[in-house]
């Protein structure tokens, strides 16, 4: 191959990449946080005794999970304003990613809920806790511990999905990587650096979750 590597042109714009990464992380953290809440609600919905609730939750998960996120992003940003629901590009992206995250996490949480012994709920009932209290103090904390390992896959995927924000001109990491690409034509170097940044960040996320996992693991 007739190619001389030159990483200087990429490092020259490190401040752009850093600000892109920061924005990407911000988008991911906010959307995942909202997505967790949505996912929890829908997971409880999916295992609920009430048929309409169950259908509603199942419908949401199935509709969102099966649609390419790019389509969702474009739809929210370009089509929803025509229906009178206009958000700026960052809000719009967070809105989309949160809804998307909610659908994926709902499935994960549902699995966790199914694995919880029935006895725990009854233990809570027998000391006079209400259903809500049981969910808040017992079911959710125990379930969270069970699903933490499978959450890392999802969190990482969702963080990487922030790269799609570039499609609606949100200047995150991928956006700047493309920008550097078109300016310098150093495509190979740029993507090598960018993917290293992604890998490193994802590794941190995975590691953080594994640490959390051991920290809150139930002692045996």
């Amino acid at each position: 191959m007739n190619y001389n590597f030159n990483f200087n042109v990429v490092w020259r714009d490190w401040d752009l990449l850093a600000s892109g990464l920061a924005l990407g992380l911000f988008l991911a953290v906010v959307s995942i946080a909202i997505g967790c809440v949505l996912g929890l609600i829908s997971a409880f919905g999916m295992v609920s005794r009430h048929r309409p609730l169950r259908w509603l939750a199942l419908g949401y998960v199935s509709a969102i999970r099966n649609t390419p996120i790019l389509v969702l992003i474009l739809f929210t940003y370009f089509a929803l304003p025509q229906l009178g629901f206009a958000l700026d590009k960052i809000q719009s992206f967070i809105f989309t990613l949160a809804i998307y995250a909610g659908a994926y996490l709902a499935e994960v949480f549902r699995g966790g809920l199914l694995a919880i012994p029935k006895g725990l709920r009854e233990g809570g009932l027998s000391i006079g806790l209400t259903e809500t209290q049981i969910k808040a103090y017992i079911i959710v904390p125990v379930m969270m511990r069970n699903v933490l390992p499978s959450l890392s896959n999802n969190f990482i995927s969702l963080f990487k999905d922030t790269s799609l924000a570039a499609a609606i001109a949100v200047p995150e990491l991928t956006f700047y990587a493309r920008k550097i690409n078109v300016e310098t034509f150093r495509v190979i170097e740029t993507w090598m650096v960018t993917s290293l940044i992604y890998v490193f960040t994802c590794y941190l996320i995975a590691n953080l979750l594994r640490r959390l996992e051991t920290r809150i693991a139930l002692p045996r």
């Binding site: 739809f75 370009f78 896959n153 992604y198 994802c202």
Partner: protein
């Protein structure tokens, strides 16, 4: 939105759309199948491997999971040719998605295997089964039941990731659609159209997963 125009343009481009769909199906299904098989191996090493092999396989999964998929695709296409392994765009894309899929399935398998009580392995040992027999007859079928829901998550992700092969010039469904868009400028309409097709694809996978889940449910 302009639906008549959209329908006409879709009809006009039906052949290239069909070819795109065929590519998408071929890419996704191959990558999911090969990736799952490889992923089972990865999960095995992560669960039962020795210190050293586990260390390397952990790096493998964390690296693949962490890299944006389109970078993997670029790498499979270009980096390998540096080492004199000239894959076609299609082959390189499938390779990248297969590896990506294997890293996700590996984690899923690890989780599922960890959840199987140790007594199962011991009982299998005590009737004289070798490790591979134990794995195939006893552990895998049980792991499968727990894996299915998250595995479906991964499978749908692979279908969606197949769109990224357009970067190296594979005309899959999304690129075929974008080609129509660039000609007709019906972007919203056509993105919606292609969204529906992907939805149907993933929905079928989801339903297949659910059906399998019911079939293998332990009474």
């Amino acid at each position: 939105m302009n639906f008549t125009q959209m329908l006409t343009s879709i009809w006009n481009a039906r052949m290239s759309l069909l070819a795109g769909l065929e590519n998408t199906l071929l890419i996704s299904l191959t990558a999911i199948a090969l990736g799952s098989i490889l992923g089972i191996g990865v999960g095995l090493v992560l669960t039962y491997g020795g210190m050293i092999s586990r260390f390397f396989v952990r790096i493998y999964t964390d690296f693949l999971r962490g890299t944006p998929v389109f970078v993997l695709i670029l790498a499979a296409y270009y980096m390998l040719s540096v080492f004199g392994w000239n894959l076609s765009a299609f082959q390189a894309g499938v390779l990248a998605l297969t590896l990506f899929c294997s890293s996700h399935v590996g984690e899923i398998v690890r989780g599922a295997l960890n959840a199987i009580p140790r007594g199962q392995t011991e009982a299998a040992k005590s009737i004289g089964l070798t490790f591979s027999q134990t794995f195939l007859s006893v552990l895998l079928p049980q792991a499968l039941r727990q894996m299915l829901p998250t595995w479906v998550n991964t499978a749908t992700e692979i279908v969606k990731a197949s769109t990224l092969l357009s970067i190296i010039g594979v005309t899959e469904l999304l690129l075929a659609t974008q080609q129509i868009i660039s000609r007709t400028y019906l972007s919203l309409e056509l993105y919606l159209f292609v969204g529906v097709i992907y939805f149907v694809l993933n929905f079928l996978i989801e339903q297949a997963g659910r059906a399998l889940e019911r079939r293998v449910a332990i009474p």
